[in-house]
């Protein structure tokens, strides 16, 4: 009786979102956390409050291997869970089908031991489902949960199994940046296609840097080549829930709005007062972003905003 949770890793390091999924999973039972990757990440994971045990696997396999690994450990757990990240989305449905379980994914609220809320139709509706199955396969939207505290010292147990997989890893093409992680950032500055060029996007990045913010982009801005694909916020990109979202030159297509509905406060800078994003914003400034952004960045630096 308990939860087997797959930890989220990023380039071999424990991702900040793991503390959030642990907090979600801990509402359902004691959490055994599977960390496939370096030992240092497993030791870091042991410090998260709510973790009963860390199961450390030396390898971080692709989806087929990871599903096999989880299936091998599944016995004795009533819940097998992960973050609704690209890894969790890749592996958990495969695991569920292997175990003949209908999964419940992208959970944004837990309403009981087997009652969950998840968004559908790009977040334009919320579905409340009850899962009467014996075993549950779940993924949690990390940004919808507050992170668990640290200070724990859970035992770490290292697995000694070979993982069979048909798919093989060839290469990673990572976006190198020193800016905060989009999925867990407190402040996000997002740019739309109105910034006009990759050069124009630098204005968005400058404001973000001043605020210590992560940078997001709309699908149109990514498709136009102004920003890398992993900055995309929306139904098909990342779903964010920062305390503050500053949307620059973003009209607010349904697809993008789906990604920002969890933001506590939304500020819009746009020339069009009728843009859907301006209408849902808490604060709006109507005007030309090319004039506003440099002034705003300078003004904030002058007022000594420091993070």
């Amino acid at each position: 009786m308990g939860v087997l949770l797959l930890a989220e890793l990023d380039d071999g390091a424990l991702s900040a979102s793991t503390a959030r999924t642990v907090a979600a999973a801990a509402q359902l039972g004691p959490v055994d956390l599977l960390v496939p990757g370096p030992r240092a990440a497993a030791d870091q994971a042991a410090a998260i409050a709510g973790v009963a045990k860390v199961i450390h696997a030396k390898e971080a396999p692709l989806a087929d291997g990871l599903a096999n690994l989880l299936a091998g450990l599944a016995d004795g757990y009533t819940i097998i869970a992960a973050a609704a990240s690209t890894t969790g989305k890749d592996v958990m449905p495969r695991l569920a089908a292997k175990l003949d379980i209908q999964p419940v994914t992208d959970i944004v609220a837990i309403e009981g031991a087997n009652r969950f809320v998840r968004p559908i139709y790009a977040g334009n509706a919320l579905e409340t489902v009850t899962d009467p199955q014996q075993t549950h396969v779940l993924t949690f939207r990390a940004s919808a949960f507050r992170p668990a505290a640290s200070g724990n010292a859970a035992p770490v147990e290292t697995l000694d199994t070979d993982i069979a997989a048909a798919a093989r890893f060839i290469a990673a093409h990572r976006t190198q940046s020193d800016i905060p992680d989009l999925a867990t950032a407190q402040i996000v500055v997002g740019g739309g296609v109105s910034v006009g060029s990759a050069e124009g996007f630098k204005l968005v990045e400058a404001l973000g840097k001043t605020l210590g913010a992560a940078i997001g982009a709309t699908r149109a801005a990514v498709d136009a080549g102004y920003a890398p694909n992993d900055w995309q916020v929306g139904q098909t990109g990342k779903i964010i829930a920062p305390d503050l979202y500053i949307a620059v030159g973003i009209s607010g297509a349904l697809q993008h709005l789906a990604g920002i509905q969890g933001a506590k406060k939304i500020i819009a800078i746009n020339t069009d007062p009728e843009a859907p994003l301006v209408k849902i914003a808490d604060v709006a400034l109507i005007g030309d972003l090319f004039e506003i952004l440099p002034q705003l960045t300078a003004e904030l630096e002058k007022s000594g905003v420091k993070r």
Binding site: D10, A63, T86, T87, K89, P93, R94, L95, A96, A97, K98, I101, Q102, V104, T105, D106, P119, I120, Y121, A122, G123, N124, A125, L126, T128, V129, T130, P132, Q133, A166, A167, R168, F169, A172, H173, T175, Q186, I187, L211, D223, P228, N229, D230, T236, D243, L254, K265, I266, I269, P273, I280, D282, V283, L285, I286, L296, E299, L300, V305, R307
Partner: protein
């Protein structure tokens, strides 16, 4: 090579949906329906492989009510060769869909199965991965590039940290992401021609899969509305608001 592509008929993604007042679901009566956008990317990828001489047959499969024939016809007009409709009026869960598709894969023995990464109605992002499990085939999800190299694939995937490239032996399952390609619009002569291509309609019951749902949908509700905002008139005013917010923010 034979390619099987799964397509889904959904509420058109440009429609602003309305939640039924009784909480029983989203209103779909009298609403414009079309092929799920990600499925279009999957069909386009198959047609491009055929045009490059890598595939000789593209089979389209859809599961749903009779009108789902329309999205199969759209795929046939884009260049696919024949269609299969697994007909049912019941709403089906993703696991059941994957089981029905696994039966079709068993019959058709394709070298490659292409699907969209998710349907824009239920936003599940399950079926490709589940089908891969049920057929015990390797998977490459969220594909932004597919390269065929003899009897293996090299697929570049869109992941949270950027992109990654993986290798898969065929047969394999691949799900399409947005940046895989730009789906074509079928020209009128192709649309006319599509009607003469073979399209088999088969009742879902024929496949021997238990269609009953595992989960109970208790309620569908609209998301909470945001309170009305204010418009400020100067950069200085906006800067002051942002500075206050940031200074009040508790550090995590």
């Amino acid at each position: 090579m034979k390619i099987l592509v799964a397509v889904k008929r959904v509420v058109d993604h440009n429609v602003r949906i309305r939640v039924r007042p009784d909480g029983s679901g989203v209103e779909t009566n009298g609403v414009r329906m079309s092929m799920n956008p990600f499925c279009k990317h999957a069909v386009e990828a198959a047609v491009q492989l055929a045009e490059a001489g890598a595939a000789d047959e593209i089979v389209i499969v859809s599961i749903g009510p009779k009108p789902a024939n329309d999205v199969i016809l759209t795929a046939l007009a884009m260049g696919a060769h024949r269609g299969i409709l697994v007909e049912t009026d019941q709403p089906l869960e993703t696991l059941v869909i994957a089981k029905l598709l696994a039966k079709v894969v068993e019959e058709e023995q394709p070298d490659l199965v292409l699907l969209g990464k998710q349907a824009v109605d239920d936003d599940s992002n399950h079926v490709g991965q589940m089908l891969a499990a049920l057929t015990a085939l390797p998977q490459a999800t969220f594909a932004s590039e597919i390269k065929l190299d003899g009897h293996a694939l090299e697929v570049t995937r869109e992941v949270d940290s950027g992109r990654e490239t993986i290798g898969l032996p065929l047969p394999a399952i691949v799900t399409a992401d947005l940046r895989l390609n730009t789906p074509r619009n079928a020209a009128l002569p192709m649309v006319m021609k599509a009607r003469s291509k073979p399209l088999a309609v088969r009742p879902a019951a024929e496949f021997g899969v238990d269609l009953s749902p595992r989960l109970t949908v208790e309620m569908v509700s609209p998301p909470p509305e945001r309170a009305a905002g204010v418009t400020v008139n100067s950069v200085a005013e906006l800067a002051a608001i942002i500075a206050t917010d940031v200074n009040e923010m508790e550090a995590i």
